[in-house]
């Protein structure tokens, strides 16, 4: 590492970190919502959130003086957080294929949770 942040940048660095998580989550939320509602406007919001996420990530890279292999890791992070909601959504669809069918097929006696 590691050159610590400048004292004057402590606030900026922590807020950038917080905003990354927040906008990462907004992106995930709007992405999922756009898939659910099948509406392009939500997708726009999703990628706007992702854009803000990227901006804050860049801010963090700057104030933390990240260099060398750290930058590769950050690139992976950006890619990972871009693709993760896609993957998770895919997984949601995959794991809930015939929910109604399953629910009605299983007998309550066998799995009490369903009754």
């Amino acid at each position: 590492m590691t050159e610590p942040v400048l004292a004057s940048n402590i606030m900026l660095a922590t807020m950038a970190g917080a905003m990354m998580i927040l906008f990462g989550a907004f992106y995930a939320f709007f992405f999922a919502w756009s898939r659910l509602k099948n509406k392009a406007s939500y997708a726009t919001l999703a990628y706007l959130s992702y854009g803000i996420f990227v901006v804050f990530t860049v801010v963090l890279v700057q104030v933390l003086h990240l260099s060398g292999y750290w930058r590769i890791l950050v690139a992976l992070l950006l890619l990972g957080y871009l693709l993760a909601p896609h993957g998770i959504w895919h997984l949601c669809v995959g794991t809930h294929p015939h929910e109604e069918e399953i629910a009605t097929r299983s007998t309550p006696g066998k799995s009490s949770g369903l009754s």
Binding site: M1, T2, E3, P4, L91, G94, T95, P97, H98, E101, I102, R105
Partner: protein, 200 residues
């Protein structure tokens, strides 16, 4: 039911969960062996207890980009050179007293603990003791009678009287001196130390 793709099936994810957990544990255990070796007393990061016989500096290392402890010439604690065994015994008495008096629920040690009182990581090197020549005795009298020798810096916060004996106080000072020699990757940053003989 069998239409669930393999990558979304329960059994696939059970296996993934088991393998990931197992894999991470193996890596952690491997790292633990390495780390414990490197933090055993007597290593370069965590010096032997007899380091309390030496002078300890805290200096900026431009290569690493942060401050690190530097061990200097002889400066025996309480004027007495100790063998490795004696030193360990004294430091251990200090550590045990620190635990029995529950210091960690006001102070932090290596930054861990509570935040009601100052961090003790480099307390031995703190400027507040004034000068090297009086430091040891000031620390002992403070520990034994914090009420009278208060160090609240004008605040009303005072350390309570914990019934620390002289022997225990010596142990605590030894422990603090030893702890200040641990290489903590530059924590705390930019620490301003007490002037020590041979300091530049």
């Amino acid at each position: 039911m069998n239409k669930t793709p393999w990558w979304a099936s329960e059994s696939f994810w059970r296996k993934v969960a088991v393998w990931i957990t197992g894999g991470m544990l193996v890596i952690l255990i491997f790292l633990t062996f390495d780390t414990v070796k490197k933090i055993t007393a007597g290593s370069s990061r965590v010096p032997a207890y007899s380091v309390i016989n030496k002078r300890i500096y805290y200096r900026f290392n431009p290569e690493r980009g942060f401050m690190e402890p530097v061990i200097g010439d002889d400066a025996p604690l309480f004027g007495k050179m100790l063998s490795e065994e004696e030193a360990e015994k004294l430091v251990s008495l200090g550590k045990m007293t620190i635990q029995a008096k529950n210091c960690m629920n006001c102070h932090t040690l290596l930054g861990n603990g509570a935040y009601y009182a100052p961090d003790l990581t480099k307390a031995w090197l703190d400027q507040g003791w004034g000068a090297e020549s009086v430091r040891e005795n000031m620390m002992v009298s403070f520990l034994m009678d914090p009420k009278t020798n208060g160090r609240g810096y004008g605040t009303m916060r005072r350390m309570p009287n914990l019934g620390i004996t002289e022997e225990e106080a010596h142990g605590i000072v030894a422990f603090l001196k030893w702890m200040s020699s641990i290489d903590t990757n530059g924590f705390p940053n930019n620490f301003k130390t007490i002037p020590q003989e041979g300091d530049q």
